[in-house]
């Protein structure tokens, strides 16, 4: 299937002497078969800083660790080939001051990242200052850089912010590394799964569990504007949509509905939650304004209407409905008017999710016993299937609209053994499918926006 999208990779190396800020560029609109060779020099730290940081974080060489965070992020995009540190000829401190470009060109590196870590004391508290520079080897000049001062425990986030800067500079698109993923952590046999809300950094580190597993929880989704999460909880056997503040741990039921509420998602401005209400055998789509507490019914049809998702401008809602007989994807205005079916391909279509760029809708498709994750334009044209498997669903977009994360479940054997659920990600091009490592089995991923400062 991927061959269909296999197009000539285009990798642009634009040399414009005189214009210092656009030397190396990557065209990431197509699959990239020849990733850009890049060197991440270990960040330099002087002995005094090293000792201080070791006391704070119990990490021997934070500079090396930060460079590993960056390297890992960039390599996983599939767009960069991170070169082996063993081949580096220049010492980190010297390279950071002024690289000997010939040395880096010799190992075929086209881009170099250098940096420096120093410990600082501000108001008797320990801080770290991290400086980074991005160098164009062929152009023989520095093209970007910044420095950040933060508490020592924030060091991984600094690595992510540097990765975002590099990605942005080299691809022309915003990054997605300083983000988190909320998901449902799963354990136990298939017939009695214990599920907890979990959150981790985008690269799988810093996993925290937000619920204890006493009640079933499903489908957590981030507020795109802050650190609030909405999800479905079976607390007291009353399946309802909840709102959770992940900073304070405070949670509350959303609205007062006379039946099961489920499939929640925030509006792009973060002020409303759109969801389904199931009552008397009929599921309709409702929206509740969290500021005014006004709730409103958007669909009115005896069929199942669920999985709503707003367009990024908030003017439209896509959802799935079986009003035509089987699950298909529909788009309507956000006031519920002008309902239009957009999926007409063979099979059953569900879980439409509007891309943050606005031009595409990601979906799950079931056809001939196989599950696909795909994308189509918002009028239903240009359907492209990215990946096929025994069971997978629930796509969620990276904040820059480049990557789709979803979950996949395995088929059990004749004895009913061998069940697992894992998170996977795939590039919009259909390339670079990757297992997203989690501490436990996992499902229902939702990607946060870029974190602020």
């Amino acid at each position: 299937m991927r061959n269909k999208f296999l197009l000539l990779f285009i990798f642009c190396l634009i040399l414009k002497p005189g214009i210092s800020y656009s030397l190396v560029e990557i065209d990431i609109t197509r699959g990239n078969l020849d990733p850009l060779p890049i060197s991440v020099s270990p960040f330099f730290a002087d002995e005094i800083s090293k000792e201080k940081i070791k006391k704070n974080l119990n990490i021997d060489n934070l500079g090396i660790e930060i460079s590993k965070v960056i390297e890992n992020n960039l390599r996983k995009t599939g767009l960069f080939d991170t070169l082996d540190k063993e081949s580096f000829l220049q010492k980190p401190d010297i390279a950071h001051l002024k690289p000997r470009f010939e040395d880096w060109a010799l190992i075929k590196s086209q881009v170099l990242i250098t940096g420096k870590v120093t410990s600082k004391i501000i108001n008797k508290k320990d801080y770290i200052r991290i400086e980074f520079k991005l160098w164009d080897i062929l152009g023989a000049k520095m093209v970007d850089g910044f420095s950040l001062t933060t508490v020592p425990t924030n060091w991984r986030r600094v690595g992510h912010k540097i990765s975002d800067k590099v990605y942005e500079r080299l691809t022309g698109e915003s990054g997605y590394f300083d983000t988190r993923i909320i998901y449902v952590a799963e354990e136990g046999p298939k017939t009695q799964r214990v599920k907890k809300l979990a959150i981790m950094d985008q690269d799988g580190f810093n996993t925290k569990y937000l619920t204890l597993g006493n009640e079933l929880v499903l489908t957590p989704r981030f507020n795109p504007t802050n650190q609030m999460v909405t999800y479905l909880s079976y607390f007291r056997n009353m399946p309802r949509v909840y709102l959770l503040n992940i900073e304070t741990g405070k949670q509350e039921v959303v609205g007062d509905f006379p039946g099961m509420t489920f499939a929640p998602r925030f509006s792009p401005d973060g002020k409303k939650i759109i969801m389904s209400l199931a009552k008397d055998g009929n599921s309709e789509i409702w929206v509740r304004n969290l500021e005014t507490n006004i709730q409103e019914k958007l669909t009115d049809h005896p069929s199942i209407d669920t999985s709503p998702s707003y367009s990024p401008d908030g003017k439209y809602v896509t959802f799935n409905s079986d009003r035509s007989g089987y699950q298909q994807i529909y788009v309507m205005r956000s006031d519920g008017s002008k309902v239009k079916r957009i999926s007409f391909g063979k099979g059953i279509y569900g879980t439409p999710v509007w891309s943050p760029r606005g031009d595409l809708i990601a979906f799950t498709k079931l056809h001939k016993g196989k599950f696909f994750i795909g994308v189509m334009r918002t009028d239903g044209s240009g359907e492209r299937l990215l990946t096929e498997n025994f069971y997978q669903e629930a796509p969620s977009w990276s904040p820059n609209g480049r990557i789709i994360i979803f979950y996949r479940e395995t088929k059990t054997d004749e004895k009913g053994q061998g069940f697992s659920a894992k998170l996977w990600s795939i590039d919009l091009t259909g390339y670079n499918e990757r297992l997203v490592k989690t501490e436990t089995d996992a499902s229902d991923p939702s990607w946060s926006s870029l974190l602020g400062n």
Partner: protein, 183 residues
């Protein structure tokens, strides 16, 4: 030339005979199975997988007794559904009438009807489908005289399968609504 022709014909005759015999054998086996439909379930245990499915599923609705519990003595606790369907089969209606009769006799009992879906659908749609199935059962119980305030519905979607298999028979057992005593 003639000899070749004769041999050829003879061969065809023999071959034809073999085919007929094969067909006849097959047919007779099948008839035996069909004729003893009463002991189908028992036979299914030792029969080959396809016949086993035949005995345990009608269309793709489960008709076996594995996983079926009792709401009360002689009253099955669950009914099964076809893929993506919420229609009650004849057997399901019979089960629900038994449940309703028992509930009418035991008027202090309240129940929760739990609706379930198999794993071959998206999570959110399955939650809605489970709710629809539970309500199909609830409505039928109400038709047979059980008041609505004694029946709560609870959809689990695909979250609580009884059979962890990934095959049509397992899925058919999981597409169900189960009436559970709540007090």
């Amino acid at each position: 030339m003639n000899l070749v022709k004769i041999l050829k014909n003879a061969f065809l005759v023999v071959l034809f005979g073999l085919i007929i015999t094969a067909c006849a054998t097959k047919k007779s086996v099948k008839t035996t199975t069909e004729s003893s439909s009463t002991t189908k379930a028992a036979e299914a245990q030792k029969a080959d997988p396809i016949e086993k499915l035949d005995a345990l599923m009608q269309g793709d609705v489960y008709i076996g007794s594995d996983t079926v519990g009792e709401l009360a003595s002689g009253v099955p606790d669950r009914v099964f559904f076809a893929t993506n369907e919420t229609i009650l089969t004849t057997a399901s209606r019979e089960t629900l009438r038994k449940q309703a009769a028992w509930l009418r006799q035991n008027s202090d009992v309240t129940v929760v009807v739990e609706g379930h879906a198999d794993e071959r659908g998206t999570r959110e749609y399955n939650l809605a489908l489970g709710e629809r199935r539970a309500n199909a059962a609830k409505d039928y119980l109400m038709t047979y005289g059980v008041s609505s305030d004694r029946i709560k519905v609870l959809s689990y979607g695909k979250e609580r399968p009884v059979d962890s298999g990934s095959n049509p028979l397992s899925w058919s057992k999981n597409r169900r609504s189960v009436t559970v005593k709540a007090n």
